[in-house]
């Protein structure tokens, strides 16, 4: 008989809400403390919890190592790409004003996109670090 029933059930209950909280922190970063970095760490924490309770191979099926290592540069790419788009539109690097017709909306969506980039990189980096240590010495 397995003795980790409580852990498994509790984790199954909690992981969706942890993910949801991460999305809340991400989207609410404009109005309250939060943002891409915090959200990325929370998402990574959810996956790490899953890996601890259900085993690393189960976590690898959800988030393969290659995907995680792809996320790290991808997020930086989103960030730097936004900056380059601003430059192509004739403003300094990462000036969000010209991204949309209305500068305020431009700032809003510009920060949003950059924060998505931060989320992707941070979640990817945290998981990459976790996998690197957890999988060390395994085939």
């Amino acid at each position: 008989m397995r003795l980790d029933v409580i852990l498994r059930i509790a984790a199954k209950l909690m992981i969706p809400f942890i993910m949801l909280f991460a999305i809340y922190v991400q989207f609410h970063g404009h109005y309250s403390p939060g943002g891409g970095f915090q959200a990325g760490v929370i998402i990574a924490a959810a996956v790490i919890l899953y890996a601890i309770v259900f085993g690393i191979s189960a976590a690898l099926r959800v988030m393969p190592r290659a995907a995680v290592e792809f996320m790290v540069p991808l997020g930086v790419g989103i960030y730097a790409g936004t900056g380059i788009v601003s430059m192509l539109l004739g403003r300094p690097f990462l000036d969000y004003d010209p991204l949309l017709a209305d500068p305020v909306a431009g700032q809003y969506w510009g920060v949003f996109i950059v924060e998505v980039g931060v989320l992707v990189t941070v979640a990817g980096a945290m998981l990459a670090i976790f996998y690197a240590f957890a999988l060390r010495g395994r085939p």
Partner: protein, 125 residues
């Protein structure tokens, strides 16, 4: 009396100094590499506190614009320290990864022992 009140009123700086000196001492005194990294992290943390504590405005709210709110905390130190924390996390991960590989290569995480082996390799050259 004045001296005591001067000490007590700046308790945040005392915390900073204690963490800083303690961290630096651990880095210098401990041979175990993991402990050295813990000391390094403490040392970095002291600087976070140094930035954050003067940034707090008593009675101030998080710095998000709203008509009802008059007093805000200074947001800049928080942003700076968020960056510094990210740097600290990256450094710590990098350091631990190096220690794992040093352990695989030398079979020890005691700096004394590893340095002995390194010196022997140097002498053999």
């Amino acid at each position: 009396m004045e001296l005591i009140s001067a000490i007590v009123e700046h308790y945040n700086y005392w915390a900073v100094i204690f963490l800083m000196v303690g961290g630096l001492y651990i880095v210098v005194a401990k041979s175990n590499m993991i402990k050295t990294l813990i000391g390094m992290a403490l040392f970095q943390t002291s600087v976070y506190l140094l930035y954050l504590s003067p940034g707090k405005v008593l009675g101030g709210t998080p710095p998000i614009l709203d008509k009802a709110i008059k007093t805000y905390s200074n947001p800049l130190p928080h942003v700076l320290i968020l960056t510094a924390i990210v740097v600290g996390v990256a450094t710590l991960a990098m350091g631990l990864a190096l220690i794992v590989r040093i352990n695989e290569a030398y079979g020890s995480i005691e700096e004394d022992e590893v340095i002995d082996l390194v010196d022997r390799e140097d002498a053999a050259e």
